[in-house]
């Protein structure tokens, strides 16, 4: 027997990561039962993903049973928020009674009813009403026929009844069901429907039913599934619907892209067919928003073995896909596993056949990097376009910020150079040994440091002259941007005094001190903060015109 039970101790030792394609269904069920008693939500959430290794190679119906059993456990152990994208996706898109029943049941594990889920429950009624089945959650493998059983419809109605006033927005649809679909309901369903409507109507709790932007709720809920995206290898080979061969970078770099995944053999009209119709709406929205030249769209098949280029073209044409150079369908003939890994696609296979997949849409930037994903529900076209616009604006801002940053760094360096040059140069000039006396003073200092043997060199005098001229040039150039011409004039005066020493061939020594002081004052005035300089200027002007008493 493949489904031989392990002993309870062995099962107790299993962790979620040890579950794989060889784990039997009964082992899986026992594992869920153990988690239910331990209330280990996180482990169960991971098991809801189609890409979990435990589903590899299983049939679609086996996945339905296993996932359904896990979801139903939330009624007893409490409903984790992270499970909501899965549950709403199932209620909206699944035609499997067991999975739908489990999802409706799981919702009753919430501490407080979630008003927005009533929309999904009503959609599930329409999906399931003509193909319901007997269901038992008491036992993973019940003995048939069952004396008592539940159904997907009963579980949905029970959840709506439990929600009471929180399901108020579902009342019009429930009444329509009661009046318009009478032929499709058996007597016990009619009775339960009546009970449900009554329970909602008689619940007097005040509930805000204006909630909610479901897309936004879902976008925040599914964040945990976004781990592990990788950059696709630029050389990954693609073939489009016309049979043209190209590499990933040829199409997915240079412009923003909206990418969806699908396959033509998909039997669920709420999934792949709707995904493509939704992409067509997104194409229209892109054009209307004036982004036609900036955004590409792509639909990539999960099933390259079956979906030939011709099959893609036929499928697209029958769904009004607007093929062009910027809007294409692709198959990845040999390297799809690599793409699946990079996008962390929610798809699993039984042999070459897709056994289950989620709804998934990705936004890629101009470099081909995934910047946003919308998972598990069809995303409103305007939300997709709005998100692209936001990203484009953000990108533009970041680019200009980067340009701004570099220019600020450049300016800073220039300012620093100007400030330093206008202060340091006068200081160097001030302390430069300009005559034999200076040399004696320095030699006296150097003597302490055993550096007395440095000789006086007359050629150093022209160097001082060059530095003085350079200092004046810098001050003049910076004068307009800094503190005006006064520092320059002061420095010019100081330089004139120092040149008097040269003119007198060292006979006059008295200009040395005032020359150096004026040179330093000029440098300091120039390097002062503009506001401080202006305040100081006003102070002296006032003092000059009105006397110090009034200052």
């Amino acid at each position: 027997m493949e489904d031989t039970m392990q002993s309870s101790e062995q099962i107790g030792l299993l962790s979620e990561k040890q579950l794989n394609h060889s784990t039997s269904e009964l082992e899986f069920a026992a594992f869920i039962d153990r988690l239910r008693t331990d209330s280990k939500h996180k482990d169960i959430i991971r098991l809801l993903s189609e890409r979990h290794p435990v589903y590899k190679g299983r049939t679609a119906k086996t996945m339905v049973r296993m996932r359904g059993y896990a979801i139903a456990s939330f009624e007893a152990m409490g409903l984790p928020r992270a499970s909501l994208p899965y549950i709403t996706e199932i209620l909206e898109n699944s035609f499997e009674p067991y999975l739908v029943a489990a999802s409706a049941k799981g919702l009753r594990g919430a501490k407080e009813p979630l008003a927005y889920t009533s929309v999904y429950l009503v959609r599930a009624i329409l999906n399931i009403m003509k193909r319901d089945a007997p269901i038992s959650f008491e036992d993973y493998r019940p003995k048939w026929p069952l004396k008592q059983f539940t159904t997907a419809m009963f579980e949905i109605l029970e959840t709506l009844r439990w929600m009471g006033a929180y399901a108020g927005s579902a009342l019009p649809e429930l009444r329509m069901l009661q009046n318009g679909y009478n032929d499709y309901l058996n007597q016990s369903t009619k009775d339960r429907l009546q009970d449900t409507i009554h329970a909602i109507e008689s619940d007097t709790r005040k509930v805000d039913l204006s909630c909610c932007d479901v897309n936004a709720i879902m976008a925040s809920e599914e964040a945990w599934e976004k781990d592990g995206y990788q950059t696709v290898r630029p050389g990954l080979e693609l073939e489009d619907q016309s049979g043209r061969q190209l590499e990933w970078k040829d199409y997915f770099q240079g412009k923003y892209s909206v990418v969806v995944f699908f396959y033509t053999r998909c039997l669920n009209p709420r999934k792949c067919t709707r995904t493509i119709f939704n992409l067509v709406d997104i194409q229209n929205e892109i054009k209307q928003a004036g982004l036609g030249a900036d955004v590409r769209t792509a639909a990539i098949t999960y099933d390259a073995d079956f979906d030939s280029a011709e099959a893609l073209e036929t499928y697209g044409n029958s769904r009004q896909f607007q093929f062009s150079d910027d809007h294409r369908m692709f198959r990845v003939p040999d390297e799809f596993p690599e793409l699946r890994q990079a996008f962390q696609l929610g798809v699993n296979y039984n042999g070459k056949v897709v056994n289950d997949h989620r709804i998934e849409l990705f936004l890629l930037d101009e470099k081909g990097q995934i910047v946003k994903s919308f998972l598990r529900s069809q995303t409103a076209p305007d939300l997709v376009v709005r998100t692209i616009q936001e990203h484009m604006a953000q990108n533009k801002e970041e680019s200009s910020l980067q340009v701004g940053l570099w220019s600020r760094v450049g300016n800073g360096i220039r300012q620093l150079f100007n400030s330093v040059s206008t202060i340091v140069l006068p200081l160097i000039i001030a302390f430069f040994p300009k005559c034999p006396i200076c040399w004696m003073a320095y030699l006296s200092f150097f003597g302490i440091a055993s550096m007395e043997s440095i000789p006086y060199s007359p050629w150093l005098f022209p160097v001082v002259c060059v530095m003085l001229v350079l200092n004046l040039i810098l001050l003049y150039r910076i004068a307009k941007r800094r503190n005006g011409m006064i520092p320059f004039v002061v420095s010019c005066t100081g330089t004139f005094f120092l040149l008097l020493i040269a003119i007198s061939e060292g006979v006059w020594e008295w200009p040395l001190v005032p020359g150096l002081i004026l040179l330093l004052i000029g440098a300091l005035l120039n390097s002062l903060d503009k506001r401080i300089y202006q305040r100081m200027q006003r102070f002296f002007m006032d003092a000059y015109f009105h006397g110090f008493s009034s200052v």
Partner: protein, 277 residues
């Protein structure tokens, strides 16, 4: 629109001219389709131990027919399916077979699980092994391909091999066993004829190489040649076009030595292609 209206008019006339008498059996079916109470009674009879298998079989046939047109039976699907599932282990093999047939068409998950058990465990006490494969094959997502490959490698009987080949996607691992089946003259032609298409899908080059082996080992009169030729022809125009043309040439080189019946078949295959060109 005119054509549709004309067609509707002709249908109306046809109905008016036909006999006004409705067969009593049809009347009963029509009544049953709208009678919830009678349906409930029938479901109970299907569970009842004193009702004979023949009667139960007859009820199943009626409900199966009613399910085509009755919205009420759709609304009562859970009760109906519960009753059907309850007969999956009935003592009567005919009844069990009928029940699995009906449930398989519905793609019922419980029936599929039981049928998968037949294949997995080799226990055909519920339905014959090959029937289990055929019934699961009604849903392309219902067969575990790994199990189908195992059956092809070790088939319990010829019928099971045929069914397994009909529902096998093929993979690299199975290439060698498939070529062995193709070349094995002891296996029925019904089974071998299914193999070239699977090999072509896995590895076209391998199929083209097989032609040489078949011609060398079995000569031009090998019965399998036309089935291979059909798949070789499909490869033209693609990545393996040149090699496919070369292989076609090899087959045509020996066509004069081929028996008349096979010659006609081969000529049809290749000439239809030439016409298109």
């Amino acid at each position: 629109m005119e054509h549709i209206n004309e067609y509707l008019e002709s249908l109306k006339k046809e109905v008016e001219n036909s006999s006004q008498e409705v067969h009593p059996h049809v009347e009963r079916l029509e009544r049953l389709g709208g009678d919830e109470e009678e349906m409930n009674q029938m479901f109970e009879m299907l569970h009842h131990p004193e009702v004979s298998p023949e009667e139960k079989y007859s009820i199943l046939q009626m409900l199966d027919t009613v399910s085509i047109f009755s919205p009420l039976l759709h609304a009562k699907m859970p009760e109906y399916v519960n009753a059907l599932r309850g007969l999956m282990e009935d003592e009567s093999p005919e009844l069990r077979h009928k029940v699995f047939e009906i449930l398989s068409v519905m793609k019922d998950e419980v029936a599929q699980e039981r049928l998968m058990g037949v294949i997995r465990n080799g226990d055909d006490s519920l339905v014959p092994f090959h029937s289990a494969i055929a019934m699961l094959g009604l849903d392309e997502k219902a067969l575990e391909q790994g199990l189908v490959r195992d059956i092809i490698m070790n088939p319990p009987n010829e019928e099971s091999l045929i069914q397994a080949l009909r529902h096998f996607d093929g993979d690299e691992e199975s290439l060698e066993p498939l070529i062995n089946i193709l070349l094995d003259n002891n296996i029925s032609m019904e089974a071998r004829a299914l193999v070239p298409e699977i090999i072509k899908d896995i590895n076209p080059q391998a199929l083209l190489e097989t032609v040489d082996i078949v011609l060398n080992e079995n000569g031009p009169n090998a019965d399998i040649i036309p089935f291979i030729a059909r798949e070789v022809n499909e490869l033209k125009g693609g990545e393996h076009h040149d090699f496919a043309e070369e292989t076609k040439g090899k087959i045509l080189d020996v066509i004069d030595d081929v028996a008349d019946e096979a010659k006609g078949f081969l000529n049809d295959i290749f000439s239809s292609d030439d016409d298109e060109e």
